[in-house]
């Protein structure tokens, strides 16, 4: 990974999240405000990403995390830096929460050489091996078998890392989901399956696609511990995820988490989003995970509207800089088109390029 600096917005990775750390007390103020800032940063990053898409600075499919920030920050923060993450195409926020330089994330969105994947991957394929961020993937459910393999490798090497695999509600209906959960349980792999149930797979509501609407119940077929959590509440996500992750680290048994949330925008930035009712959208808007957390912080007198405003301004300025950075970054060289297809000596074999004679 080519990111130049570690992100200023990355929160500390505490050794272990405890209930105490999440209490709304003065002592915890720094930590709590960092959580808040992180969510706010991701929100702003995504809003500006959408804008840059409209300006044609970003292309392809582009799926935003807006509305899901509590699952993003709350899901990823409890992980150790030695843990592995496999996730889907809706992963800009995941990458940032993991500590990847947001500049590298934006540069990737701009298709630039200094993006996380050197501009080859784009929105759906962020990657960072140093941070064990093992990729965003575009085939729904297709990365679950890979996460299983991550768990296999950890167990094989007798290490104590956890593999964290994030996917949507829609992904739980595809065959690879079933094979992966079963396999992980049969071989006792240290994988935490983290389902971000935003209640829709594109235009299809979860209950129209899944025989059980409470996704966490699907784990019964694998005799796997499974919980459902409020994915709009960052403190709950953080705490419950941490508990599950540490249990899995201790006994190398896979576990399942379903985090209930809602995506505030269309499936991707070009989706006119006509299939959801205004009432529904309103209802969930009211439960905005950032606003809800701000209310908590305010009520506990840990911060006030002025502070939140300041944060919004600060992250806005940061994202401005990031966009500038991405915009000014270099494009990949066309001469490097075939670079990276093969490893080692195969990289340069011309017969593998198949150029016309």
């Amino acid at each position: 990974m080519v990111a130049s600096v570690k992100p200023p917005t990355a929160p500390p990775h505490p050794t272990k999240i405890t209930p105490k750390m999440l209490e709304l007390t003065k002592e915890n103020r720094d930590f709590l405000l960092k959580l808040h800032r992180q969510m706010q940063f991701i929100r702003r990053f995504e809003e500006r990403t959408q804008e840059q898409y409209t300006k044609a600075k970003i292309g392809g499919y582009c799926h935003l995390n807006i509305g899901e920030e509590a699952t993003v920050v709350g899901g990823i923060l409890p992980l150790q830096l030695t843990d592995y993450i496999f996730t889907s195409y809706r992963e800009h926020g995941h990458a940032i929460a993991r500590g990847i330089d947001p500049k590298a994330v934006m540069a990737e969105l701009f298709g630039k050489e200094n993006g996380t994947s050197h501009g080859r991957g784009g929105s759906m394929h962020m990657f960072d091996s140093d941070l064990r961020f093992m990729g965003g993937y575009g085939i729904v459910g297709g990365h679950l078998p890979l996460a299983t393999g991550g768990g296999w490798a950890v167990r094989y090497k007798k290490e104590k890392d956890v593999v964290f695999c994030m996917f949507g509600d829609g992904a739980t209906n595809i065959g690879a989901f079933h094979e992966s959960l079963n396999f992980s349980k049969v071989f006792k792999l240290p994988v935490v399956w983290f389902c971000v149930n935003n209640r829709y797979g594109m235009g299809t509501p979860v209950e129209a696609a899944s025989a059980v609407a409470d996704i966490y119940k699907k784990a019964c077929a694998y005799d796997m511990e499974s919980i459902q959590i409020d994915g709009m509440n960052v403190r709950e996500v953080l705490l419950k995820t941490s508990e599950i992750v540490e249990k899995t680290r201790a006994d190398s048994e896979p576990r399942f988490i379903e985090a209930l949330c809602y995506r505030f925008k269309g499936h991707s930035v070009v989706d006119p989003d006509k299939y959801r009712s205004t009432e529904d959208k309103e209802k969930f808007r009211k439960a905005d995970p950032i606003v809800a957390f701000e209310h908590e912080l305010e009520k506990a007198k840990l911060a006030d509207e002025e502070y939140f405003k300041k944060v919004r301004m600060e992250v806005d300025a940061e994202v401005q800089d990031i966009i500038k950075y991405a915009d000014e970054s270099p494009e990949p060289k066309v001469a490097d088109l075939y670079k990276y297809v093969y490893a080692d000596e195969w990289e340069e074999r011309p017969e593998l390029h198949g150029d016309p004679l």
């Binding site: 499919y61 797979g201 299809t204 297809v341 198949g354």
Partner: protein
Amino acid sequence: MPEEKLYRVALREALGEEMERDDTVYLIGEDIGKFGGAYRVTDGLLDKFGAERVVDAPIAEEVIVGTAIGSAMLGLRPVVEMMTINFSLVAYDQIVNNAAKIRYMFGGEANVPLVIRMPGGAGHQLSAQHSHSLEVLYGLIPGLLVVAPTTPEDAKGMLKSAIRTNNPVMFLESMSLYNVRGMVPDGDYTTPLGQAAVRRKGADLTIVGVSRMAVLANEAAKQLEEEDIDVEVIDLRSIRPIDWPPIVESVNRTTRCMVVEEGWATYGVTAEIAAGVQERCFDYLDAPIRRLGGAQVPMPYSLPLEKASIPTSEDIKRMARKVVGRKTDA
């Protein structure tokens, strides 16, 4: 009266008209109903035909295709939409090991009247997992018919034929053609499967184009006219079977041939065309048959890299000049 229509609208009309004509025809796929289809081909059909006949399925390509096959064996005529050909790889076993083989392995006692529609192709920065063409994966398989229409007229007429045959048909659309306009005949008509179309007559060189590349070849041919290169353009249209007679007739006349596809040329559709042409036209050929395809890489996201990966009409012209022996550029 014939009318100018979008390729995607021509497809929609074919679906709607066939559903009206035959109530065993139904559509199944992901987000083809309420969402209107990822590329809006099926937009409006749910309202017209109801959820029994325009089925929003879970994200589960194997059972979508399998359901279609099984119901076809029982007498229905399903039309599957795969959101893109890239996702069809998840259902590849169902298509190859079931749809294509069932009739034969049961000694002709079952039919699988099934259409699988799917867009392919690059050019939208969708990167490695969403951008490929892959026609040859289906062209290879006995038991399948495989077509790739390039005009609104063909899109409609061939989709109707595909729905009416008792064979499984892979109906390959191109993302980049959905917004193309063209005249569409009035009323109910069908365009036969299994036939190539000569898009332009010419004397110096035959270009066989696969899917969207047939359109580009036509553009290139127009421009080459100014350079006094008279190109015949054949739109392959049918990938399985290949319609050899017009190709052979043409090459025997022009004595030169090149073949263009958007996908990877090595082991691509163009390999078969080139191999078949040299077998059939050997004594007439004045130059080797050249092939042009996309760069042999998983499609990169970066705009300049993606552009460099897809054949352009400039690339076609460059190669055409070479094949006819003009040295107008390096």
